[in-house]
């Protein structure tokens, strides 16, 4: 029981009204042996970054459905950089048009998982890409 566990912050930025998808992913990560900290709805980028630092997570999973990703995700990355955090893997999911993905990857989002992604694919990606 003493080995290093992957800690993941599952965060819901923006004004989404429900979090079913985030909960399904959180559950799958839990079942894969990770410690998942769930923030609840309507988080600001500042709240997410603070939680990620206090909880010393290895991964942040951002879930968003409302279409505000192009504003919110770069802001999260900007705040992480400002805090000097470069060892957290950031992934995203939700309703994100393919056209937006290249820009999001450019600001540092490692992968974007759309609707229908098999849960195992997310688990595998995290396990092979965590930064420590």
């Amino acid at each position: 029981m003493s080995s290093k566990k992957i800690r993941v912050l599952v965060a819901k930025p923006g004004l989404d009204g429900h979090d079913r998808g985030a909960k399904v992913v959180a559950r799958a990560l839990r079942d894969a042996g990770m410690e998942v900290i769930y923030t609840g709805l309507r988080q600001t980028p500042e709240m997410i970054v603070r939680a990620a630092i206090d909880e010393a997570v290895d991964v942040i999973g951002l879930s968003i459905l409302s279409g505000a990703h192009n504003a919110i995700f770069p802001r999260v990355m900007e705040l992480l950089n400002a805090e000097g955090v470069d060892d957290i893997l950031v992934v995203a999911g939700g309703i994100i048009p393919e056209d937006d993905v290249p820009m999001l990857k450019e600001v540092g989002i490692a992968e974007v998982f759309g609707p229908g992604t098999p849960l195992q694919e997310i688990v595998d990606f995290i396990q092979s890409n965590v930064k420590k």
């Binding site: 029981m1 003493s2 080995s3 290093k4 566990k5 800690r7 959180a26 559950r27 990560l29 839990r30 079942d31 894969a32 042996g33 990770m34 410690e35 998942v36 900290i37 769930y38 923030t39 609840g40 500042e46 709240m47 603070r50 939680a51 630092i53 206090d54 909880e55 010393a56 805090e83 955090v85």
Partner: protein, 319 residues
Amino acid sequence: MSVEKLVEGILSGKRRELARLISLIEDEDAIASEVLSRLYKNTGHAKIIGVTGPPGSGKSTLVTRITTEYRKREQSVGIICVDPSSPFSGGALLGDRIRMQEHSLDDEVFVRSMGTRGHLGGLSRATSDAVRAVDAFGKDVILVETVGAGQSEVEVIEIAHTVIVTDVPGSGDDIQAIKAGIMEIADIFVVNKSDLPGADKKVTEINAMLDTDQKMGTWRPPVILTNGRTGEGITELVDMIEEHFAYLASSGQLEARGLRRSREELEQLMEYKLTRELLSTLRGRPEYENAIREIALRREDPYTVAERLITEFLVKCRE
């Protein structure tokens, strides 16, 4: 990250270093004990409050409200909340933060979630050292929220000055109230969700239980009605926590607790280190493996073998 950098960072109030240390403690990394031993002399200043009670009795909400009240009184607060790890995957879903949003950007509040990682008793193995780290970090008050406790998760008394046991109306009858275990560890009882029917009856049942307590000292645990949603009763509750702390100090119990705790901790550490030392000299040696086989085949018995191995070990240590 180096020991030096962690120690300095924590003593100068850097939350990232504190967060890192807690992870190292949880992962049982050797660096953690080195850092903790350097920090030890800077601990012992925080008031440590344990909050325990059944799942869904409003512990997280109560912790948030208590934090709000302490912030009004200009005290800084550390919060450690423990949630269960899965016995199957070892994973965990730590959801206590959801209720603690209002403090999420307050620099004077540090919130950390922990999984039990297989440990029973309501806390994780790392909780006590994590509390110590937050203490060294300089928080005035540390709130420790246990997992949703059933009846025997009573470990929180070992680390907290004041233990709050929460209950809600309609949760079992007066027999539940006199059972052994969690009902015995409270310094303060809270009947939360006071707007639900049966709240007064619950208070009466707990008081009736206390009336028949033969071994109660000079502190009779008060029973306080609260409403986590509206904040009713919280000022009273925090006043009572302060009163309990003053009582501990004036009655000499604070000092006695400190001594008891230091003794337990030292003895546990020695036991752990000694066992590890002994086993490292034995494991893998053919005579040792052979003795195990002999015990399994009933040609030797474990009582005699244990005696012999320990005597041999001690003799060798003297040489």
